[in-house]
Each structure stands twice: as structure tokens, then as C-alpha cells.
């Protein structure tokens, strides 16, 4: 707070903020904020500095990968801070994606529909932030009550239930995945708590535009929106396949398969990262195809303009529609004009710009996934575990199969910090930052 206030006082300019400045600020902010945020964790004596930086980056990017070994034994203040970072990071990223990234050519379709594109960036940020904060705080209150009631029903002390309820709501709604317990959601051994978590995870992964549309009476959007359709297709397909492979493993009853499988499919696809099995089970007992399927779901991610990470349902929906468009074109005469549209808060045409934007981001995600998997395997981890953990870091999910631990190599920690940062900013910001550095170097060097 002090650093931000000092910057605001000392770095004054009369110039209007341009798009490139806003993106640059967002990219640097997501590096500077974890640094300042990591100081309390470091000072607490519970973490080494790199570990505290990792933990804070994981928090602010709403990833949820953790280096905390004994979450139950942390001071309540530190546990609260970890979850608060996720909530702030989750709300923050929606503001940035609505107000800044929405203006770029690469993701021009992500712009908040309620905002005038011609309005300045700063006024847009202030107005949008207020709306989003209002919605987020409403869900925070609602979630805390639900989690608290579920906790008390399942035998928790009221005081602990309120504390856990508040923290887990912040983690679930921001699709973060931190927990106040080392066992994560397994601590409760409760279907009721899992249901509350599922509801909040899904709500957090929905587009804020959609929240706004539904809250303002346009409920029909819920069934028409392309993002919801893509979400359901991946959920059903992924759920059935995961269920099929789990049925061939050690799980005996259909109820168990549904409970474990469905929870982790939702947790992966919403990029939350809540777990109800120990990480050792994921890597040693679950069939390899389950890990690969969950990795795919993590990379697909939730909705655009939500707190979830990944490539996003909207982009994949557009790419799929553009594929259909290309196939249709081949069967039509060359003179025919074919127009394809997608429904996202109204009918929108699929243009070259939109397709290019979706393809560039998708390709960038896949390249980074390959890079991260390669780095992880080079430290001796099995391929499927490396793919799973990299997908989890890149898509800001937080599901772990045990690779992430305080004893993992520092280079791997730094790699995951980079992946979390890049994934959170949808990679666009990195291009801009690299371009800016390149231009500055070209100016300095002869």
C-alpha cells in the first residue's frame, strides 16, 4: 500500500494512459505485487524467501500450488493472507482482462460489453472494478455462510468453521485452491462441503459479463452462450472418460467414482485446484490417462473474464467454429460468402482478427506447456507427472501430483513462477513487455 501510494505521489504525469502502458503496468504489477506480498510470509519464518515468493505468486495468480507443508499449523494471520491474496488476485485479473486485455487486437472479443471502447482506460478500470467488487463481495458473503453452515453441520467448531468458511470461499470463488488444511478438502471427509466448493468453483469460473447479464435480467444468455456450451461439452466428455478410467482402477463403487472423478474434473476445468485425494494417490494410483485428461481440462480452463485460467472456453469455441467454417467453405463455390457467428452476449461475427487472436494465445499456451514439461522432466520426474504439474502451473490451477514441494529444485520453482505469471496474464502481456525491453535496448545500444 505504501509503495503504491509513493508511486502515485512521485510518478505523476499529465499524459493519458495508453493501452501499451496499461499492459506494461499489469505485467510489472503481477511481478512486483508478489514480491511485496511475500515479505510477511518470509518474515513469519515459515518460508525461505524463494518459497514465500512462489507462494505469493501462486496466491496472486490464483494458482494454488503450495510449498506450505503444515497449513494447519500456520498462524491464522498468514493463512488469512494467503487466501486474501487469491481473492485480490482473482478480482484484479478480471478487472485487467475486462479493461486492458479486452482492448487489444489479440483478444478484442473479451471486452466488457457494458463499457464504451472509446472511454479512457482509467475511468473504465474504476467503474468496472466497483461493479466486479460488488459482485465478488456478494458471493464472498454468501459462500462464507454456506461453508460455515456446512462445516458446523459436519462437526466443526463454529469459530473454526467461520474462519475456514471465509478462507475457502476466497479460494473457491477466485478459483485459487489454497486451503487452511494440508489435506485440502479431504480434511472434511464430507460430501456437503464438496458440494458447496463445487458451486463456488463453477460460479467463479463463469464470465463476469454473464454474471452481470443474468443479474440484470437476461437469463436466456445462460443457455445460449458459447462459453457455457463449450464448458458443458468438456465437462461431460472429460467426466465420462475420467469415470471410465477410474472404474478400471482401485475404486469399486459407482458413487465413489462419481464423487472423486466429478470433483476433480470440475476442480481442473474451473482451474481451482481443490483436491479430495492425497497428491501421492494422483501420481501412483490413478491411471495415467486420468492425469492426461485432467491436464487437458486444466489447459482448456474456464470462461474468459473470469478468475479462472487456461486457454478459455470462448477461444476454443471460436476455434472450433472457425474449423467448421473452413470445412463448409470447401464444399461451397469459391464465390460464395459464408458468415459464421458465435453467441456471447449477443451474436458476434467470427472475423479473421478474432480467429488470429484465439489461435495465437492457444499456440502460446501449448508452447509454454511443452517448455515447462521439458524442464520438469529434465529434473527426473516422469513425463505424465511433469505434464500434469506444468499444466497446473500454467493454467493457474493448483492441482498437484506431488512435484511441487519445498524440496524441489530452485530452477523448477522459478520456472513455475514464470509459468504462473505468464498464464495469468494470458501471455499477451509478456509479448508487450518483451517488445518494450527490446525497443529500449535498441534505443540504448548503438
Amino acid at each position: 500500500m505504501t509503495a503504491c501510494a509513493l508511486l502515485e505521489l512521485l510518478c505523476v504525469t499529465e499524459r493519458e494512459m495508453e493501452l501499451k502502458h496499461a499492459i506494461l503496468v499489469a505485467a510489472l504489477l503481477w511481478l512486483a505485487a508478489p514480491f511485496f506480498g511475500s515479505l510477511p510470509l518470509w518474515f513469519s519464518g515459515q518460508y525461505a524467501f524463494l518459497d514465500s515468493f512462489f507462494e505469493t505468486t501462486s496466491g496472486l495468480t490464483t494458482t494454488g500450488l503450495t510449498l506450505t507443508q503444515h497449513a494447519d499449523l500456520l498462524p491464522k494471520s498468514i493463512n488469512f493472507l494467503r487466501h486474501l491474496l487469491q481473492f485480490v488476485g482473482g478480482v484484479g485479473v478480471v478487472v485487467i482482462s475486462l479493461c486492458i486485455f479486452g482492448r487489444t487486437q489479440i483478444s478484442s472479443f473479451l471486452m466488457f460489453k457494458g463499457e464504451a471502447r472509446e472511454a479512457g482506460i482509467r475511468p473504465s478500470i474504476v467503474k468496472t472494478s466497483r461493479r466486479i467488487l460488488g459482485i465478488a463481495l456478494t458471493f464472498l458473503a454468501l459462500g462464507t455462510v454456506l461453508f460455515t453452515l456446512a462445516g458446523i453441520t459436519e462437526g466443526q467448531k463454529p469459530g473454526d468453521a467461520v474462519f475456514d468458511g471465509l478462507n475457502h470461499t476466497m479460494a473457491a470463488y477466485s478459483t485459487g485452491g489454497f486451503s487452511t488444511h494440508s489435506q485440502n478438502m479431504l480434511y472434511y471427509h464430507s460430501a456437503l462441503v464438496e458440494i458447496v466448493a463445487l458451486v463456488l468453483m463453477i460460479l467463479g469460473s463463469l464470465n463476469f459479463n454473464l454474471h452481470y447479464a443474468i443479474l440484470t435480467g437476461r437469463r436466456g444468455e445462460m443457455v445460449k452462450d458459447i462459453e457455457i456450451k463449450v464448458f458443458l461439452v468438456f465437462l461431460i466428455t472429460g467426466g465420462l472418460l475420467v469415470g471410465f478410467y477410474l472404474s478400471r482402477s482401485f475404486h469399486s463403487s459407482a458413487f465413489t467414482i462419481f464423487r472423486k472423478g466429478f470433483f476433480h474434473v470440475i476442480s481442473a476445468q474451473t482451474t481451482t485446484g481443490f483436491q479430495t485425494v492425497p497428491p501421492s494417490y494422483t501420481i501412483y494410483l490413478w491411471p495415467v490417462p486420468v492425469l492426461v485428461l485432467l491436464s487437458i481440462l486444466m489447459i482448456v480452463g474456464g470462461s474468459a473474464n473470469s478468475t479462472s485460467g487456461g486457454i478459455k472456453n470462448l477461444r476454443l469455441g471460436i476455434l472450433f467454429k472457425s474449423l467448421l467454417l473452413e470445412i463448409r467453405k470447401t464444399f461451397l463455390p469459391s464465390s460464395a460468402v459464408v458468415v459464421e457467428t458465435y453467441h456471447h452476449l449477443g451474436e458476434n461475427p467470427i472475423t479473421e482478427t478474432v480467429i488470429r487472436g484465439a489461435a495465437v494465445v492457444t499456440l502460446s499456451y501449448l508452447l509454454l506447456l511443452g517448455f515447462g514439461t521439458l524442464v520438469t522432466t529434465s529434473f527426473g520426474y516422469p513425463f505424465h507427472a511433469s505434464l500434469f504439474e506444468t499444466a497446473s502451473a500454467l493454467a493457474n490451477t493448483g492441482l498437484s501430483c506431488g512435484v511441487t514441494s519445498p524440496s524441489m529444485p530452485s530452477i523448477l520453482k522459478l520456472t513455475y513462477i514464470f509459468l504462473m505469471w505468464a498464464g495469468r496474464l494470458e501471455i499477451i502481456a509478456i509479448f508487450v513487455l518483451l517488445g518494450f525491453i527490446f525497443l529500449q535496448l535498441r534505443r540504448i545500444l548503438p
Partner: protein, 162 residues
């Protein structure tokens, strides 16, 4: 001859009736080796969730945790659960380990037959780091002062979009 028969019977039936001393790490890293077998586990109590006549006791041993499903009467001697200010009771649990308990939604757990407190938990004294406390208060005061100052400056000249 009778003694020999008794010895053979003991050797045949002993593995299923005698509990093996294991750590939680053993159970979670090699669950196949202990599934549906009687085990003895020692761990620190992290939390208790009461469910009527029964209860879940989550225990920690090293870096691994597991849930113990037991009857509430077994918990009469439990007094302290672990947190930042407390070292939890250390308990020894004898029970049947389930790799994926069909009764409890596939959770790994131990259905306790006996639960005994080995070591009583206690309060841990934590000293305040006054240097950090002072620094935090100074930063908080500075942050609040600058925020109020900025707010005052902005209110004096509200921009068109405010």
C-alpha cells in the same frame, strides 16, 4: 505335536490379526501393501469433526495426514488439537486401513479399534518480534497517511469520469 500345530496356526493367522506399526507416509505412498489390514499409526491430532456417535480425527505424521474414523467415546482423553499456538496430543491408533474406503466416498482412512493418547499436547509460547512489529506499524501508518492524502488530493479535483 500339539505345540507344532499351534505354532503353525499362529504363523498362518498372525499376519491378519497382528497390527503392523507404520507411518502415515507408508500408508499413503504404498497403500496396496496395507489395504484392509490392521495397522498401528502414531500421529499428532490436527482436528476433530464430530458426527453423532462417531467422529473424524485428522492426524499428521511427518508431512502426511490421514483421517481416523472412530467412536466418540475413544476421544474422551483428547484435549489439545494442533495449531500455531499448540502442540497437539500425540495419539496411537490401532485400526483397519482402507486405501479407498467404500463407506466414506473413496477417502483413504483408518477405522479405529483403539485410540490412546501417548503424549499430552501443550501450549507453545510464541514471542513477539518487536522489531517487525514496529516496522509493520510504521508502514501501516505511512500507508494510511499517504492513502488519505491521495484521496484528499483526488477529491479536490475530481476527474470527469469519477
Amino acid at each position: 505335536m500339539r505345540w507344532l500345530l499351534v505354532l503353525m496356526a499362529f504363523l498362518v493367522f498372525a499376519p491378519s490379526s497382528i497390527a503392523q506399526c507404520v507411518t502415515v507416509a507408508d500408508l499413503l505412498l504404498s497403500p496396496d501393501n496395507f489395504d484392509n489390514q490392521k495397522v498401528v499409526v502414531v500421529g499428532e491430532v490436527l482436528g476433530i469433526l464430530y458426527r453423532g456417535e462417531k467422529a473424524w480425527v485428522n492426524i499428521e505424521n511427518g508431512e502426511y495426514q490421514i483421517g481416523i474414523w472412530c467412536e466418540t467415546r475413544m476421544l474422551e482423553n483428547l484435549k489439545v488439537t494442533a495449531d500455531y499456538r499448540h502442540r497437539g496430543d500425540i495419539v496411537e491408533v490401532i485400526g483397519i486401513f482402507h486405501k479407498a474406503c467404500p463407506e466414506h466416498g473413496g477417502d483413504p482412512d483408518i477405522h479405529a479399534e483403539n485410540l490412546a493418547v501417548l503424549e499430552r499436547g501443550y501450549e507453545i509460547s510464541r514471542e513477539i518480534n518487536w522489531w517487525l512489529m514496529t516496522l509493520s506499524l510504521i508502514l501501516l501508518a505511512l500507508g494510511l497517511f499517504l492513502t488519505v492524502k491521495l484521496r484528499y488530493r483526488e477529491k479536490r479535483a475530481l476527474p470527469y469520469w469519477y
